[in-house]
Symmetry: D2
Subunit: 413 residues, 4 copies
């Protein structure tokens, strides 16, 4: 059996979900039309750890159309769409993923993907790449390289590089402008709000909406929360970002202060312990807590468990923690990525750009891996521009072109 | 059997949904605490046609706490939450509602409510009130009056009044500031977007988002679509509203023009035939159509059926119509209210205000019906202010108070 | 001498200013083209008290083109543009106005206008209408009626009506949708910010910007302050408006609280004593105070004078008050209308709409005065629609038209 | 005579303007307090070419307080405030600047500054640095280095570096986050709108507002134009920026298309020939043209002169060009920086940050120049953070601090 999914009979439903996504991913479609003729990935084995939902399936199909064999698992125990996993399984993809994996299942699945002896890894968060280094060093010599999807993963792989332990080149796809400027900001901005709305059915307007971290993800969420009428509060560690947030009209304060007044908290820092027991103790009755950063460690759930006297699920994806002080705090999707666990993840059009980046990065690795030392590489700018141009074309938008005089002027003093 | 619901076993799930809503409806809670002591509705029979979902159940429970007996059905064939209906049935409420009623079932259910010989009607859209007049004239003499929730219903009841056929007083709860300024604008604004996101998983940013009608509902949707990064286009018949829309930075044009460029269309006019075949024929491939007005007649679905060569459901709540010209249009929830059919309707906090208005209006009818002639009445302003004050109190917000000198000044020239 | 202006030699500069305004007032231009043919105001004497700046001059010229003789003064001691006054004087208009009138000069000028025995009064704030009643009762029998431009004036005239003292009909032009929805909101919103920018050269982004009053003026200012990146705080007495402000994402609190944290304060209530000594004492060092309501009584300047130990002009239109507690407060333009005293008043396009209303209201009085009892009248809705249509036409915007079926539907139940 | 200014008698007015600015520049004040004790610039000669207005004077005074001797001229023929220049002259600063310099006067003044044999140059746009290389090579050996304020200047100096001709180190102060993220975006955003409002008194709401260039300056202007209700259109050459603009809800198109529909055009590209005759010919009657980029070459004024049949000043800072096709175009301040020529330049608080950067950069050059090769250097990040921290402190804002666990986490994989 080359797959492990919840229920293979869900395949036709998954197919329909993939079709819908595909229709809204014109850049990947254009790339696929091209690559399915030239088959540049012929014979390659690609091992991936990605949120296995509809948009990801379109990426998988594109890689397959380009000639690759793909083995895939999820990069998050709660983010798999079982229908989609079934559909991919049915199409012959080696897939090991289901919603609600235990921690040990999660790691077993990562190992199963590695067991396919991939030439290239596609990772989202670093667990696959770190896993290959830590648990499957014997595979390393045959790995051409890897690509990474997220800020968090790239940070981990850079840490690996700094310590001299990284053994193959990694293309940081997150460094593509069409990725981090789009996906992190507009993608998460929309989908995090979407997740909160679905989970809670609460009004955003008039709420004190606290966002921890004013990176691209935090900015996107702030923008959309404001767009829904919230009174946005930002907490930061970086003084420059803090200053930017004030200039956008947001209030900036420490989490210590924000904890006392916020109605809804979203973490987006890429760090741990952003909201801890000391904050939770001072929160208002009814406060909503959730996370839009990669790992479920930003809201310190162990602290919540510890200070709570009672815990129960009051609504799908909403856990109520009753504290000794009589107040109740509500944690969404166990502190996991709210946009994926409570909604459908990023909009299709956003993943179109990110996955166009992944596809071109895999192709780039194939073509250049022999020249690349181990290390983390920025996404090649020319590919970045190419993706943006394809997207604008799909939208029917025309940009200006430099005249010769203008080009020349830019080089003069 | 005093109820007809989909499955009574869903009651415990429904109970949990109602509990969540209740927790976020502090104004109704305050009113309930008061009325459950004084029981001002003791012995009254209330017949209601409302979207039977969690927030409505909190209203029903409040009326019951105040002493009333309630019979209820849905005011829309697609808006019932079967879990909630089951929970209400279990609590002994006479309820006749399930998601996906046929047209004849829908009318039968309205009749069933009327068969309870209600003293007061609570209506949402006018079907219950009009039904009483047309099909159950024998009940009229015993009806103290009715309350109406929507712009659309109030319009119909005013038409009934104009033609001299209205037989009892109707309190237009929609005329309450805490209703139409909040529910129509901020409620629908958020929930319509929520519905579109859930149904489509598409990116709003950068989309040409066409809103037909710039009343309170249209304004709310425009505000939130803009807040999500859309390029908002408004169509109107009223030149003053059209002018206001331009001043908000929206583009205003005729539907004839908008049809050719829009990506997503939402109707919010309270009229019929807002988007018709002649518009559909010129729409771009992939266009999304939906409705946030009360009735499913704003997008002329019969035209769509007629000009389509193929029709299929591509996703829950999304029907694809393939036209002869090769383009595909996507209709959400059969043209019915997108916020209720594709999402959970208005946020709890919004319905808290609207239903506080309903409760106080029913009480007002009880107390004043003998002095009221048949006719449509504005919501009493003092009650309006009272609700707003309760809400601000619940939010911990303090407003200024007039000094004597200020009060006097306001009366001088 | 039929005029009193600062310096008649400024006429050519004033002419240029009027020409610029005229070019951006297409509705008034269309009306003028029409009325200069039919001369419906032939032989009428119009007495006006308006901010005598460039846009007002275009109104005056329009009335003259329609056949009227106009006598005019300013409705505010600081709002006259001396160049424009000179230009009008040169064209033969009876004008009595200069920037910086003393209180007694101000009232003398109102009297001078009344001495022309006007058939119709055009007022802005009520001083001319009240003045006619109080100081020139002998003129009343010959006055056909008056028109009023502002919320404040209409309030005073309604107070006069309530007390049974109003002696002729007053058309409340402020009640025109094309007036209060446009002028009060978008006009003041922009021009108040403009005034603050010019007077202070301070950054709005990141400032705590307190707006007293969330009527149409307050809303406009809030919208634009937010649009410039401010953290907007609203104070209100009306709980419904307070609630609306929270839903827009603004913080609402009492002036007592706001006084302690605000950076910039703008009053827009139409009342007195909005910011008083008790508030001023707790303000931060450097706080800016200004007024966008009609009268200079919203910020209680006498309190400021009383609690200050030193006062000096630190910049044109900026007076520094040093308090005993060592803090310095800055009052713009002596608490008078900040948009007129520190900038050029409303944008041309806004006054185009307001003054189109004034012109049609004067014509309407001429045609209907014999049928009108003393009282304050709403602006006729058909004229309102007509102005909006002319404006849309000038902007090249097409609105939808009702079909027969739609018109019929609106009347059905 | 060590100064050339318009009128030394304006000094007291200038003093008052400088005092106002100083009060709103707390970061520079904090730096000044420190440096006036330690005098780290003792004996240095600083030659500057900056917009000589009030905020710049506060920088000059800070450098003087730190021990430097300053000679200064303007970096733009229209941006000098004569009152401020007089005040600086009176304080003994060697200043050569007046509003309305001819081109030859402009260059003479640059030379006069160089004649003071400065150790360090502070430049805004590159004319002083390029001038030193081209016209005063004999001074080069004694110049420790220079600092640069703008994107445009840094681009020119990098071009000089690329060609191997740059002879001393240049600190690109524009590369400071507290500069380009603040000044270019929020500073120009506000001040460009301010300039347009003052020059035109036109309504921004509802206008088609075309911005050429979506760099930091263009973004700031877009944000503020949207905040004032405009329908914003962006033109770009870079596909990634174009895509970002669409995601913000702006329409993106070529200048060819935009020319036909825009009402107001602002250029912010740092390039030449952005709006040329071919565009102008298709513009609507009444179109407003202005520039917010550094040089007056973005709107090609020579084309406008050529295709116009008549030209006249219709308002201060507004020149009307009547074209053969009967349409009239309006150019603000001859195509020069609209925020400086039509308004007061950036808000004080913004220049506080930029000039804190300049001061610390000059001090850095003093301390490190011996170790620096010729070349353009990024602004040191630690100084950047230091300025941001001082600013937050002045605003009373507290940011979070990393815990040990968090710091460690950031380095793990």
């Amino acid at each position: 059996m080359t797959y492990r999914v919840k229920d293979i009979k869900l395949a036709s439903q998954g197919k329909r979900m993939i079709d819908w996504a595909e229709r809204h991913m014109p850049v990947l479609a254009e790339i696929r039309r091209e690559l399915s003729k030239t088959k540049p990935l012929k014979g390659m084995r690609v091992g991936a750890a990605l949120h296995t939902e509809a948009k990801t399936a379109v990426l998988v199909q594109t890689l397959v159309a380009a000639g690759a064999k793909v083995a895939i698992t999820s990069c998050n125990p709660l983010s798999t769409r079982d229908e989609v996993a079934a559909a991919l399984a049915k199409e012959g993809v080696a897939i090991y993923a289901w919603r609600g994996e235990t921690t040990s299942e999660y790691y077993s699945n990562l190992n199963r993907v590695l067991d396919h002896k991939p030439d290239v890894l596609i990772d989202d968060g670093g667990d696959l790449i770190v896993g290959a280094h830590e648990r499957k060093p014997e595979l390393i010599p045959d790995i051409l390289g890897a690509t990474e999807e997220t800020t968090t993963g790239a940070k981990r792989e850079r840490a690996l590089e700094s310590s001299g332990m990284l053994k193959f080149p990694v293309i940081d796809v997150n460094s593509a402008h069409v990725k981090y400027l789009m996906d992190n900001r507009y993608g998460t901005g929309q989908s995090a709000l979407d997740g909160i709305l679905r989970a809670t059915n609460l009004l955003i307007a008039g709420k004190k909406f606290v966002i921890a971290g004013f990176g691209w993800v935090g900015r996107g969420i702030a923008m959309r929360a404001k767009g829904f009428g919230a009174d946005v509060i930002v907490t930061e560690v970086d003084p420059i970002r803090a200053l930017e947030a004030t200039m956008e009209g947001y209030r900036v304060m420490s989490m210590h202060e924000a904890a006392r007044i916020g109605d809804i908290f979203v973490t987006a820092t890429g760090n741990i312990d952003v909201i801890v027991g000391e904050h939770m103790r001072h929160m208002k009755d009814g406060t909503i807590l959730c996370n839009a950063g990669h790992f479920a460690e930003e809201v310190k759930v162990v602290d919540l468990e510890e200070i709570a006297v009672r815990k129960r699920e009051v609504k799908e994806n909403v856990t109520e923690y009753a504290l000794k002080n009589g107040r109740r705090l509500y944690l969404l999707s166990e502190g996991r990525l709210v946009n994926l666990a409570c909604a459908d993840g990023h909009p299709c059009e956003i993943m179109d750009l990110s996955f166009a980046g992944q596809t071109l990065a895999v192709k780039y690795l194939k073509e250049h891996a022999d020249k690349l030392q181990p290390g983390v590489y920025e996404f090649p700018h020319e590919l970045d521009l190419e993706i943006a141009r394809m997207k604008l074309r799909a939208m029917g938008i025309i940009v200006n072109k430099f005249t010769k005089a203008q080009r020349k002027y830019l080089k003069t003093w």
